[in-house]
C-alpha cells in the first residue's frame, strides 16, 4: 500500500553568489556548486534523489535543450529529469506535486542563468509575439517603463515614491553575502540616476546577474529525518496573464493576485499580513510594489509603505530581484532566501510568502506560502 503523502518540505537550499558576471565559470560549474552544496550536511546523497527538475533557458544559454549538456552537473544521470522552461519557482511547483503524487519522496530543483554570456534584451524581446509587439521594440525595459507610468498615474503618485524602496533593496542586498554589490546607492543617488525607461531610472530596474540555486524537497515522513527545521510548503498557485501588454489591466498585476488567491486558499491564509516575510520578484521597483499589493500585503497604491521600519511585513530582506535578477533563477532564489530566514536561529517569523515571475512585463506569476 502506498503511503499517502500530505505535506512536502524544503529541507535544504544552496546557491552560488549572485554576481553581474561569473566570467571564469561555466554553467556546469555554477550548477555543480549549488547542487553539491545543497546535499551537504543533509545525509542525503545523489543516490537518494528520486528526480531532478531544472529551470534554464536555451535562448540565454545559446544551446538547444541546454539541460541535456548540464545533466551531469545536476545529478540527472539515470534519473527522472524534466526541464521547466520558466523561472525556477515553477520547477518547485513541479517538484512538490511530484512528491505529493508519489512514489517519489526526495527531489532536487535547480535553476540557473548566465545572462552575462548573452543579450538579455534579445531574451526578452523574443518573448513577445513576432508580429505585433516585437517589431515595435517591446522588451523588458519598455514593459517596465509603461507599467511604472500606469501604476503611478493610477494612484496619483510621483516617481520619487520609487526611490526609497529601491534604496532599501540595494541596502539589503549589500548586507546579503549571496549578492555582490560594489556600491549600494542611497535614495538621493537613486533619484539622480539616468532614465532607463522613463519614468524609471538606473537603480529602479533589475540588475541581471549570473548564478545557480538548488532546493531539496522531501516528503513529510523523510523531511524530519533530514533536518530539524523543515520548511513546509502550505500553498502554491500560479496564473498567466494575456500576452498582449495592451490586454492586461493597467496599474495592477491581475495574474499575481490570481496566483496568490489560489495559494492562500490552499494554505488557509485569510490575512496575508500574517505572512510576515515576503520575498518577491520584479523587473522594476514599480512592479515590485504592484506585486506586494497583488499579494494583499498593502492596499493598492500603498506598496511603498511596506519598506518602513514599522512595516508589518519584512519585504525582501535579501534585497530582492532589483539588485540581483538571475532571470530563470530569480524566484527560486527567493524561495531559498525565505527558507534561510525562516530557519535562522534569530528568525522573527514562522510564515512567509514567496513570489516568482516570468515573461515580458511579468506576464506569469507563481506564489508559495511557507511555514516552519
Amino acid at each position: 500500500m502506498q503511503r499517502r503523502i500530505s505535506r512536502v518540505a524544503i529541507v535544504s537550499v544552496a546557491q552560488t553568489r549572485l554576481r553581474p558576471s561569473w566570467d571564469r565559470l561555466q554553467h556546469v560549474d555554477l550548477i555543480g556548486s549549488a547542487v553539491t552544496d545543497v546535499l551537504k550536511g543533509t545525509g542525503v546523497t545523489m543516490r537518494d534523489i528520486d528526480f531532478v527538475i531544472d529551470c534554464g533557458s536555451d535562448v540565454l544559454d545559446g544551446r538547444s535543450i541546454s539541460n541535456c549538456g548540464f545533466l551531469g552537473a545536476m545529478g540527472g544521470h539515470h534519473k527522472e529529469e524534466s526541464r521547466v522552461e520558466e523561472d525556477g519557482l515553477w520547477g518547485a511547483v513541479y517538484g512538490v506535486t511530484k512528491i505529493l503524487a508519489g512514489p517519489a519522496s526526495i527531489g532536487l530543483v535547480v535553476a540557473y542563468s548566465k545572462p552575462s554570456e548573452s543579450d538579455v534584451s534579445a531574451y526578452y524581446s523574443t518573448l513577445a509575439d513576432p508580429f505585433y509587439q516585437r517589431p515595435v521594440g517591446l522588451n523588458h525595459r519598455v514593459a517596465s517603463g509603461l507599467a511604472a507610468r500606469e501604476y503611478l498615474r493610477a494612484h496619483g503618485l510621483d516617481p520619487e515614491v520609487l526611490d526609497a524602496p529601491a534604496a532599501a533593496a540595494w541596502r539589503n542586498a549589500a548586507a546579503n553575502p549571496y549578492v555582490e554589490v560594489a556600491d549600494a546607492p542611497d535614495a538621493a543617488t537613486v533619484a539622480s540616476g539616468g532614465l532607463v525607461a522613463d519614468p524609471l531610472r538606473e537603480h529602479h530596474v533589475s540588475r541581471n546577474v549570473d548564478g545557480a540555486v538548488a532546493v531539496l524537497l522531501a516528503a513529510e515522513h523523510i523531511a524530519e529525518r533530514i533536518t530539524p527545521a523543515p520548511v513546509w510548503v502550505t500553498g502554491m498557485g500560479s496564473a498567466m496573464d494575456s500576452q498582449m501588454l495592451t490586454d492586461r489591466r493597467p496599474g495592477e498585476l491581475e495574474a499575481a493576485a490570481a496566483a496568490a488567491g489560489t495559494a492562500y486558499r490552499r494554505a488557509g491564509v485569510t490575512d496575508p499580513a500574517s505572512l510576515a516575510l515576503a520575498e518577491v520578484s520584479a523587473t522594476s521597483v514599480a512592479e515590485e510594489l504592484m506585486v506586494l499589493e497583488a499579494l494583499g500585503l498593502a492596499p493598492r497604491g500603498h506598496g511603498a509603505s511596506l519598506y518602513g521600519d514599522d512595516s508589518p511585513v519584512a519585504v525582501n530582506p535579501s534585497g530582492g530581484a532589483i539588485p540581483a535578477d538571475p532571470v530563470m533563477a530569480t524566484g527560486l532564489v527567493r524561495l531559498a532566501e525565505a527558507t534561510r530566514r525562516l530557519t535562522a536561529a534569530n528568525a522573527t517569523t514562522s510564515r512567509a510568502v514567496v513570489h516568482g515571475a516570468g515573461g515580458i512585463g511579468m506576464q506569469n506569476h507563481c506564489v508559495f506560502t511557507l511555514e516552519v
Partner: protein
C-alpha cells in the same frame, strides 16, 4: 494512489506547411478538438501544460506566453515543459503529477511545432557543445546514423530490416486521416533512396511537419464522468548524461529503466503478450528496431527478426505504429504527445480505420536529445 486518465485527445491535419494559421493558431486547433472529444470547455480546465520543441525551431522564446490567449487560458496556471523530441510525454507526465499531487483536477496538455517556419537542422545542431564537436553536427542525424551503424554490426539491425519499418509505417499512415505523408513505399525504394547520413537514407527519415496535438488528463473523479477514459497505468521519463563515461548507445539504459518502472506500475511482465498496441516515436527507422529491444518486445538482437516476422504489422500479434508513426507526420514537439493520444484512442476504441480490434492495453515510447531522454507509458481501458 489516485488514478489519472486521458479523457480527450485531438490533433491537427499535419502538413508540410500551413500558411493559413500561425504557430499558436495551429496549437489552438488541436486544443479545440481535444475539448470537443472530451465534451468539455476551457472552463473545465484547471491548468495548462505546453510542450514544444526547442525555442530555436520557431524564433519564439517561451511560446506558451504567446499561446495563452489563443487557448483562452488567461489567468490559469500555464507552464511549459521541454525535453527535446520527447517533450510531449514530459509534458503529459507533468500533468499527471499535477493531478495526482492535487494541484489540478483536469489538465490540458498542448504540444506543437511549426517546423516549416525555421531551419531545422541548424537549430538541432545547437544541441552540441559550442566548444566541442558542433561543427560536425547534422542535427542529431549524423549521431543517430553512427550508432545505427554500430547496432547494425553488433545486433544485426540491417538496412533491410529498417526499410521494412519504413514500408510498414508508410502503409499504416495511408489509413490515418491526420497523416501528412500518404505514399506507399517498397523496400527497394527505401534502399535506393538518397543517403543523407549513411546508413540513414531519405526514406528512413520522417517528414518535416507543421502540426499540433492536445490531450486532456483528468483525475479519477472527473474521469469517471467520461464515457471511455483511457487510464494511465504507468508513465516515466528518464535521462542519461549525454557524454557520461562508458555510455552505451547499443541498448538504451534510460529506456530500459523507464520501461522497467512503467511495467512494474502497470503489472506487465510480458509486454509482447500483455500489450495490444504500441506507438513509438521513431525519428529514424533504425530507432524503431532499437525500441523493440528496449521495450522488451523481443530479446536484444531480435529486432530484425521481429519486423521480418510481420508481428509488428497492423494485423500482427504486437502491432507497432498502426497510426503510421513519425513516418506519417513529424511535428517534433507534438510527436510524443501524438503517440500518447494514439494509444489512448486505441484503448478507447476511437482509432478509426487503424483501430486494433479489442485493444485494451496500449504501450507508448518517446524520447529526444542525444538519444539520452527516454520515456514510456502504458494506458488501458481498465483502471487496474
Amino acid at each position: 494512489m489516485s488514478n489519472v486518465a486521458v479523457v480527450g485527445a485531438g490533433q491537427t491535419h499535419h502538413a508540410r506547411r500551413r500558411t493559413d494559421v500561425s504557430q499558436v493558431g495551429l496549437a489552438r486547433e488541436a486544443a479545440v478538438r481535444a475539448l470537443q472529444d472530451a465534451e468539455l470547455t476551457m472552463d473545465d480546465i484547471d491548468s495548462v501544460i505546453v510542450a514544444t520543441g526547442p525555442v530555436l525551431f520557431a524564433a519564439v522564446n517561451q511560446p506558451e506566453k504567446w499561446l495563452v490567449d489563443a487557448l483562452g487560458a488567461r489567468l490559469k496556471p500555464v507552464v511549459r515543459v521541454t525535453s527535446g523530441g520527447g517533450t510531449g510525454l514530459a509534458g503529459a507526465l507533468a500533468a499527471v503529477n499535477q493531478i495526482k499531487g492535487g494541484f489540478a483536477e483536469r489538465v490540458l496538455v498542448v504540444a506543437y511545432d511549426k517546423l516549416s517556419e525555421g531551419a531545422l537542422q541548424y537549430s538541432i545542431s545547437t544541441l552540441y557543445d559550442p566548444f566541442w564537436g558542433r561543427e560536425f553536427a547534422v542535427g542529431i542525424m549524423g549521431f543517430s546514423a553512427a550508432y545505427w551503424k554500430a547496432r547494425m554490426d553488433l545486433l544485426g539491425h540491417t538496412e533491410e530490416a529498417a526499410a521494412l519499418v519504413s514500408v510498414k509505417n508508410h502503409r499504416n499512415a495511408l489509413l490515418n486521416p491526420y497523416a501528412h505523408v500518404r505514399k506507399e513505399v517498397t523496400v527497394e525504394d527505401v534502399l535506393a533512396s538518397r543517403p543523407l547520413c549513411w546508413p540513414i537514407k531519405l526514406l528512413d527519415v520522417p517528414p518535416i511537419s507543421d502540426g499540433a496535438c492536445a490531450v486532456i488528463l483528468a483525475g479519477e473523479d472527473a474521469a469517471k464522468r467520461s464515457a471511455d477514459p483511457a487510464w494511465i497505468r504507468g508513465m516515466a521519463y528518464y535521462s542519461e548524461g549525454e557524454n557520461a563515461a562508458d555510455r552505451s548507445m547499443i541498448q538504451s539504459e534510460p529506456l530500459r529503466i523507464a520501461a522497467e518502472k512503467v511495467y512494474r506500475e502497470a503489472g506487465i511482465s510480458n509486454p509482447r503478450r500483455q500489450v495490444d498496441v504500441v506507438e513509438v516515436q521513431e525519428p529514424y527507422t533504425c530507432f524503431e528496431l532499437s525500441y523493440y529491444e528496449g521495450l522488451g518486445l523481443c530479446p536484444p538482437g531480435g529486432a530484425a527478426q521481429l519486423i521480418e516476422s510481420g508481428a509488428t504489422q497492423i494485423d500482427g500479434d504486437i502491432p507497432v505504429n498502426p497510426s503510421g508513426g513519425c513516418m506519417g507526420a513529424n511535428p517534433i514537439g507534438a510527436t510524443a504527445l501524438i503517440r500518447l493520444a494514439e494509444i489512448a484512442q486505441q484503448v478507447r476504441g476511437r482509432a478509426g480505420a487503424y483501430q486494433i480490434p479489442d485493444a485494451k492495453v496500449g504501450l507508448m515510447q518517446a524520447g529526444g536529445g542525444w538519444a539520452n531522454l527516454r520515456g514510456v507509458a502504458v494506458v488501458s481501458s481498465t483502471k487496474n
